[in-house]
Symmetry: C2
Subunit: 301 residues, 2 copies
């Protein structure tokens, strides 16, 4: 699982900081999470293959999370894209995109599938044989969802050494991977655990931005390997966090602690602060394993 | 008159090239011309004061000329802008912006004045005591206007040496500036040209993008000091230019020659070419005074 942060600053794009956008590579799928203005340039700078992006998840319809989407959709067309593109986001995202295509006399060479979200409950919105994506209902000034990306457990791995030693024929291999025991010709029953190796533990990533401090998300993100939680402000501006329905670094760390996640990545920093180090220092007073997110950083989990 | 090219490449924004946007400083007014994605970042990089931009001219509603506008409008609000903003562009631009503000639950702290254009004839769309702006109807795949920015002639300048020599009282100065002669007490009539200096010659700038080769604009831009004319392609791709309703460098130079402008700036280059030097070389076979436009370049005229 690899996470590339294309942008993690609040509000307006600036010379050296970008609004929210992330690329999550999970089990060879590439998901784009949020798409602030300039995301397509950040994708190029970070050498992400445009053609590999087939699913885009938008947390909420504020400009710093969605203004880059129409440009990316247009660029896909210019690049000759033909494969379908699925877009997940709040009700209204379809009108936002289709109206801009119409008024700019534009179109796409590929199918756009909009999955508009309105539920206040967590729901599975994407699932394939290897990955599940669920919404994490957040509390912000507008309808907002975080997203939980979970790998599915792999089937057990064949222990080549063991199956060779027991001289088991290839035709049994799939059954063994599926967990079956094997009865040898000499009547011995070889239990599955002797022929297989435990699969890699499935990983999970929780993206939570933008949101006020909200403990009701804790059960949804419990034990996640990685939690990205917005920290727009420091505690010194907790009144502003409350007023604008954002979180402080300390609050993000409190959610990480209560949810017992392995790692916390901070981001969505207000540009009022001279150094983002302050966010890490504040969060570490509550939760030990804090990573300071920043544009262009890439993490392997 | 100062022109800063924020972006002058066709189609999609890339790591080192930006879609169309320019800042024209003329008689202490600052006009933004077109606003592709990322324009607000280019404004910052080029140290343009956001608060000084009160008039934005959009040539046509294609993404690479307008996708940056909603972000800029939102940033103005975040920066606490209160002064009115006037936006000139094709019919539809108001719906494009207002709908995005509505769907992103956004607003402006300042008044937005939309001046929607539909005429196929050139018209004066802006005028104050020092500057006039006229449309230049262009031929592209969608309704498109270029813009002609003209300084108004200054009043004659007072020749301080002369008025002191003739011992003329200050109360006459305004009349003299307005072109009046002066009758001295001794009966001598001093003609105005002896008391004044010619004003600086008014300058003009013609912006023409995007357009097919179109000689009907020649009378409108005749004798302009500076002409920016799109050159998306080279003659080797003239068939593509025709098909996409763009111009070649040679065609841009031909317009410059026929219109007898002083300088030609090329731009809106297709990103298919390795070096934009080729555009200058091709244009110079037709017109001598060619400037190769590029992102971040600034010209004093």
């Amino acid at each position: 699982m690899n996470l590339t942060i294309l942008g993690c600053y609040a509000a307006t794009p600036r010379t050296f900081t970008n609004p929210t956008a992330q690329i999550l590579e999970i089990r060879n799928r590439i998901f784009l999470i949020d798409c602030g203005e300039g995301t397509q340039v950040q994708l190029r700078k970070n050498k992400i293959k445009f053609s590999k992006i087939n699913h885009i998840f938008i947390s909420h319809l504020h400009g710093d999370h969605v203004f880059g989407l129409i440009g990316l959709i247009s660029t896909f067309t210019l690049l000759g894209r033909t494969t379908d593109l699925s877009i997940y986001g709040p009700v209204g995202i379809k009108e936002l995109i289709m109206m801009q295509l119409k008024l700019t006399s534009s179109w796409t060479n590929y199918n756009l599938h909009f999955h508009e979200l309105a539920s206040k409950e967590s729901a599975i919105i994407y699932e394939d044989d290897k990955v599940v994506v669920k919404t994490i209902p957040l509390k912000h000034r507008v309808y907002t969802n975080g997203y939980l990306f979970q790998e599915k457990p792999d089937s057990r791995k064949l222990n080549i050494g063991a199956v060779t030693r027991f001289e088991i024929e290839k035709c049994y291999y799939q059954n063994i991977k599926n967990g079956k025991d094997v009865l040898l010709d000499d009547g011995r029953l070889i239990e599955n655990h002797l022929l297989t190796i435990d699969p890699v533990q499935p990983k999970s990533y929780a993206f939570c931005s933008d949101t006020i401090f909200n403990e009701t998300i804790v059960p949804l993100i419990e034990n996640a390997d990685v939690l990205y939680h917005e920290s727009t402000f420091l505690e010194s501006e907790s009144d502003l966090a409350l007023k604008t329905m954002h979180s402080t670094a300390k609050q993000a760390a409190t959610i990480a602690l209560k949810a017992n996640v392995k790692q916390l990545i901070l981001g969505h920093y207000s540009t009022r602060y001279d150094s983002i180090r302050l966010f890490k220092e504040e969060a570490e007073t509550i939760f030990p394993n804090v990573i300071l997110g920043d544009d262009g950083l890439s993490f392997e989990f």
